[in-house]
Symmetry: C2
Subunit: 523 residues, 2 copies
């Protein structure tokens, strides 16, 4: 017999249903946002603030200057502050940006930015609040002649909305910019997953940025100087490419469109659709190209969707992308890594699921880098370093699947190449397909892996040539020294056999050196 305690009816269950706020959801699931443990949380807070600062500076075409400070308050308590010289934030926009999850300007724009989701900085604020109960503090100023605004903001997790604790006008020496301060539970480490390493890598991929960093455990400032004096080319927003759209998306775009009829909808709501292409699609779908959008049926959409995918359409425009460029990568690497040889490659744009992207790669070889260890891999997405989950990343897969032995480097099976080298890979895209919301690794799209491999092969060949040259030079020096050592002996032999005089002997010696010089000068 079954117990009757707590047996629920459909009516009981219906009464228990309620809405869950996004903040509650992410508070309980904060590992989804990268706040798994105190060490990572500290890094994530810095990263989210820096991403926002750099995006804002670049959108306002200001050469970025960041000041990052970590203060230690107790064994596991820290204050992270990040200050920029960006355009500032308008007063009324501040509370929602920092006190509401899923709020922002980047989610709906098809544009290359570091932030994508409107969830980063508010999730750092949420983590701080959960672990210390303290609000996020913001100062922002938009113009020299305007006041600076100071806010302290809590997130009301039940409602996912900001609760303003303080809202004051303050004086601030800066002409414009924003300063964000978060108190949180954390752990400070140095090493692979450290803030130091994150900033070092940020400096490499953003040679136009000046970074000043005050760590908690020393008085000494760490400064990364600007090595490129110009802002990167500005990425533009684009419209979606027809080949990147799913059926459901197509229906929903048509529903929300103000284009009126089919042909205009295809031409104006998508990129790369000319009159001719629009008509071709309509013809293929067997729908009148002048048909009103509101009268298009579900079956029509089905046909339309198939027709779009059967029609050849020019690849998406790529002026929406902003690469670091070969020169930028070389400067970035040289500024931070001491090596003998540098190479860099910036590939032409490619497309996955209708999203254009560019892969760039760089290699720094030799110098004081360890001889017998696996190469260091630096992964970047839209110029932001990826520090965690290296093994799950498409970039890592591409590196491992490249045959580094072809380039005179040792490589154990299914592993990174061994040698004194650093490998950099950068993916720039309007939509980087991260495997998780914490933006730590890139999903395994075959198109992306292929492009990374091609970039690495191009870089690899140059490095391989350099290594081969070095090997030959070493061989050469060795051979040369052998021959030089034996020339006098040969001359003595010749002298005895041919009965040479002193003068002839000297001339022969000289000739032998000349021949050695001529035949082996090549390298």
């Amino acid at each position: 017999m079954q117990s009757k305690t707590n047996v629920l009816t459909a009516e009981d269950m219906a009464l228990m249903q309620r809405e869950i706020s996004v903040s509650e959801f992410f508070a309980k699931n904060r590992h989804l946002l990268g706040f798994d443990n105190p060490q990572k949380a500290l890094l994530m807070a810095v990263k989210e603030a820096c991403d926002n600062s750099l995006d804002a500076c670049e959108e306002a075409r200001i050469l970025p200057e960041l000041y990052i400070e970590i203060k230690q308050l107790g064994e596991d308590r820290f204050i992270v502050s990040v200050e920029d010289n960006g355009p500032g934030i308008v007063r009324d926009a501040i509370p929602n940006i920092f006190g509401k999850l899923l709020y922002g300007s980047k989610f709906h724009a098809m544009k290359q930015t570091r932030g994508q989701q409107g969830i980063g900085i508010s999730s750092a604020a949420l983590y701080g609040q959960l672990t210390t109960g303290k609000p996020i503090k913001i100062i922002s100023k938009t113009r020299k002649d305007k006041p600076a605004h100071y806010f302290e903001i809590h997130i009301d997790t039940n409602k996912n909305r900001p609760e303003i604790i303080k809202d004051e006008v303050v004086s601030w020496k800066k002409e414009h910019g924003t300063r964000v301060e978060i108190e949180l539970e954390g752990k400070f480490y140095r090493g692979k997953h450290s803030i130091d390493n994150y900033l070092r890598q940020t400096a490499i991929s953003n040679p136009h940025v000046k970074i000043t960093y005050q760590p908690p455990d020393t008085e000494e400032l760490v400064v990364y100087k600007r090595s490129v004096q110009e802002l990167p080319v500005e990425p533009l927003s684009i419209k979606p490419h027809p080949h990147g759209i799913e059926l459901g998306m197509l229906i929903s775009m048509a529903k929300n469109s103000s284009s009126g009829y089919l042909k205009r909808f295809l031409q104006t709501d998508f990129s790369r659709v000319s009159t001719k292409i629009a008509e071709e699609i309509a013809r293929r779908a067997n729908i009148d190209s002048k048909k009103k959008l509101s009268s298009i049926t579900r079956d029509d959409f089905d046909a339309l969707y198939r027709a779009i995918n059967l029609t050849k359409i020019m690849n998406p425009a790529t002026n929406c992308l902003s690469q670091i460029g070969e020169e930028g990568i070389l400067k970035g690497l040289k500024a931070v890594i001491e090596a003998d040889f540098y190479s860099a490659v910036s590939r032409s744009p490619a497309v996955y699921r209708g999203n254009p992207f560019i892969i760039e790669a760089g290699i720094a070889y030799g110098g004081k880098q360890p001889l017998e260890e696996p190469a260091e891999l630096l992964r970047f997405a839209n110029r932001a370093p990826l520090l965690y989950q290296q093994s799950g990343c498409a970039i890592t897969e591409a590196v491992i699947n490249t045959s580094w032995r072809n380039y005179n480097l040792a490589q154990p099976k299914d592993a990174m190449p061994i040698g004194p080298l650093t490998i950099l890979v950068h993916m720039a895209s309007i939509w980087v397909p991260f495997t998780s919301e914490s933006k730590e690794s890139i999903a395994h799209y075959p198109e992306i892996i292929k492009e990374v491999k091609l970039a690495l092969q191009e870089c690899g060949r140059k490095v391989g040539l350099h290594i081969r040259k070095k090997i030959r030079q070493a061989d050469e020096t060795k051979k040369r020294s052998y021959i030089e050592r034996y020339i006098p002996q040969i001359v003595i032999g010749l002298k005895e056999i041919l009965n040479l005089k002193e003068k002839e002997t000297n001339k022969t010696t000289k000739n032998l050196y000349v021949i050695l010089e001529k035949t082996r000068r090549r390298y």
Copy 2:
């Protein structure tokens, strides 16, 4: 000189800020929910519907009967339908449950359920809509004497709310239950990550469930019969344990509490806090235990939080958990896997971050399982099988870190044991810490890994004894057959040496057999 096109001011940027709906967010990031590719999507849709059905049946104390059907419409188009004999859903609750993300009854309950977040079934509906444009279809009936309701529901992604396409009263033969139908893009496969395997594992961990499955590629029904005739013990809701609470959570609980003053708040809003413990906490924090909650300052909360963590508090109650039980595991394994030997262990409850949990393990050894392959690992969380991301799961780590050689099994370094065995591990908890929203693997909490290892060791020892016994038996049989073969020879020798008569010879032979029997009977 910098270009002036598209340079944005703080004001421009403020105008671009807007709210992002949860549906839009997950539509764009559907890999976070497990809808990465067509094969996995098909499985996820089945899994989310089954999880809901089983939870509902058990809450209503109904022995579950599931009917799952996959129909193939085109190369990559399928209809998934899942029908249960559960309590049904009240008409007015249907649209939100299926047409709104982050809506449900389980998120706020501290109770062991398969679903946790109120996001599963609506995300499957969202995926169907995105890939086919078709709405989710639901029939539900709560009682014999009530009508059945039929709904077709779209999700308005801009607003994260249901859009009702059809809402009709229909006749349905069932007394009560729910049927869900989703049309989606998918791929049907057999093998490790298949629906077949998912249902097979569900049958193992839920021996009280009857499953009937109609695959798309054959007429033949697959049936998993019920092997346990009783429902599992009913899990109860509990209040949070003080040691599982963070500072921010403590503050927010106090704010929303109706308990009035500190002592009562501690006693009534948490589990395991007696009057004595509440007073001890207050004393340690140096706060009057009668202090009004509304007058407690942030510094007080800080002190309170520290005091809670310094105070010894009884572990959380564990009647909130519902294990499969040793008998259930044995029955489940025997019903589905043919083997020579089965063992099962159900550990006592343990705690991580204030959340109680129970680990159970089972092993099926021998039979027709492959001799030279790694063991098959079946992972379960709250009775639901975990099919993906085996390598990233805490359970896998625990299996690999167990020394299987101690139990007479081969085990390569850092790998699964080799042999004819299946290993089952089940974690039951009010809150399973999944590493991602797609609920594929369990996070690496040391407490969890330790418990899994202890459970495996206990099972492993039993299997080890069985294997050793088998080895000894084999040895014994071999030795015995040797001796038996030589007894006649020995007797001939004895006969010659001692000059035995026929009768004595026979008696000696008999005696020798008796001795052999006596000395070697042990095994």
